[in-house]
């Protein structure tokens, strides 16, 4: 065979390798490209300004529950100590904790929103790595992000409750044990 050229004839194996590569590329196109496109679409949807709303609300709710338990314990402690609900001490203490709760919830929600934006960029980075033919890193999912935010909220709540004298006074009681059991009692 040959076209009458002067150069050496192409090896048969080269043609076979090219055919193998073409088959592999077709299979990639059929099976994996639609999945890649799905991931790309999901990633781009994360850049929508409202996409993080549910994650932010979840973070706020979870943080609120951390404070709710402590506030309930504080109220019980105040009653047990015979404090008048209209007294300055009770009002001041519950107000301080409510303000701390508002701050904690607000910051937890905000942080969840920023985490979500970070995740969008991380996803976009993964897509770009795909395009460059590089291995991509697994990104943390919704639950991981929420847990990381809750860990931060829990630490803040612990510090807020440590300032409540009513809660400090019930350490060692049944309520105090409960207070410690949800991880807010601290070690010191």
């Amino acid at each position: 065979m040959g076209g009458g050229g002067d150069g050496p004839e192409e090896l048969e194996s080269k043609s076979a390798l090219a055919e193998q590569a073409a088959n592999a590329l077709q299979r990639y196109g059929q099976t994996f490209v639609p999945l890649e496109n799905m991931y790309i679409q999901d990633t781009m949807n994360m850049f929508d300004p409202n996409a993080s709303a549910s994650e932010m609300a979840a973070a706020q709710n979870q943080t609120s529950s951390l404070y709710e338990q402590g506030l309930g314990d504080m109220q019980s402690a105040q009653f047990n100590m015979g404090l008048d609900p209209t007294s300055g001490r009770v009002k001041k203490e519950s107000s301080a904790l409510r303000e701390a709760q508002a701050r904690g919830m607000g910051l937890a929600g905000a942080s969840a929103g920023i985490d979500y934006t970070d995740a969008a960029y991380q996803g976009l980075g993964n897509v770009i790595n795909m395009g460059q033919g590089l291995q991509t890193n697994a990104m943390s999912g919704n639950i991981d992000r929420l847990q990381a935010g809750l860990d931060r909220s829990g630490a803040q709540a612990q510090s807020d409750f440590a300032r409540s004298s009513s809660l400090q006074s019930i350490a060692g009681t049944g309520a105090g044990m409960a207070y410690g059991s949800y991880g807010l009692g601290g070690g010191g």
Binding site: M1, G3, G5, E9, E10, L11, K14, S15, L17, A18, E19, A21, A22, L25, Q26, Y28, G29, Q30, V33, P34, E36, N37, I40, P49, S52, M56, Q60, S64, L71, Q75, P85, T86, K91, S94, S95, A96, R98, E99, Q101, A102, R103, G104, G106, L107, G109, A110, G113, I114, T117, D118, A120, Y121, L124, G125, V127, I128, N129, M130, G131, Q132
Partner: protein, 184 residues
């Protein structure tokens, strides 16, 4: 010449020849041709390699080389169509101080803080109401809430700046390094 005949004609040609024909005759209107080169047919982003024919050059001289050239062109077009716009988007997100997401992040921080204050104000009112008391506190104006908002906004800016650094030293630096090495 009808579009079908044009398609058939271009499919008989090698990629190189198809490019040459297009350049010589100007825009041919051929559906499978774009500035990235010839790839056999129109581009389907959900199956971009469907029109590759592994046996197109069987029996011809340098059939392996010609097929490899088609594969490289097909990959280049797929990259240009699906990934290059996203790289441009990512690069376009970077600003002098952070990213273009900062505005949305700041708005979310504000709304999260304001929403939390309103929520807790309501909770406090209901809690005091159960004891027959009137809630006179104004959490929104408290130092804690205002300080939380300011701290949250500062934190948002810092994290956006960190994000910019991460992008520049991560994905974007990988692209520029690869682009540089490809040309050498």
């Amino acid at each position: 010449m009808s579009q079908d005949l044009m398609d058939q004609y271009f499919q008989m040609l090698s990629g190189e020849s198809a490019d040459a024909v297009n350049q010589f005759f100007g825009p041919s209107g051929y559906s499978g041709y774009n500035s990235g080169g010839y790839y056999g047919s129109s581009y389907d982003p959900n199956n971009p390699y469907a029109n590759l024919n592994p046996y197109k050059y069987s029996g011809q001289d340098d059939s392996g080389d010609k097929l490899y050239a088609d594969l490289i062109r097909a990959q280049t077009r797929d990259y240009n169509q699906r990934f290059a716009p996203l790289e441009n988007f990512m690069a376009g997100q970077i600003t002098a101080t952070g990213t273009k997401s900062l505005g949305d992040d700041l708005a979310r921080t504000r709304s999260s803080t304001a929403g939390a204050v309103a929520n807790v104000q309501g909770q406090q009112g209901r809690s005091m109401g159960r004891m027959g008391l009137t809630n006179t506190s104004n959490i929104a104006n408290s130092t804690t809430a205002v300080g939380g908002l300011v701290g949250g906004l500062n934190d948002t800016r810092l994290r956006d700046s960190d994000r910019r650094t991460a992008i520049l030293s991560g994905s974007m630096s990988g692209i520029s390094q690869k682009a540089r090495s490809t040309g050498s």
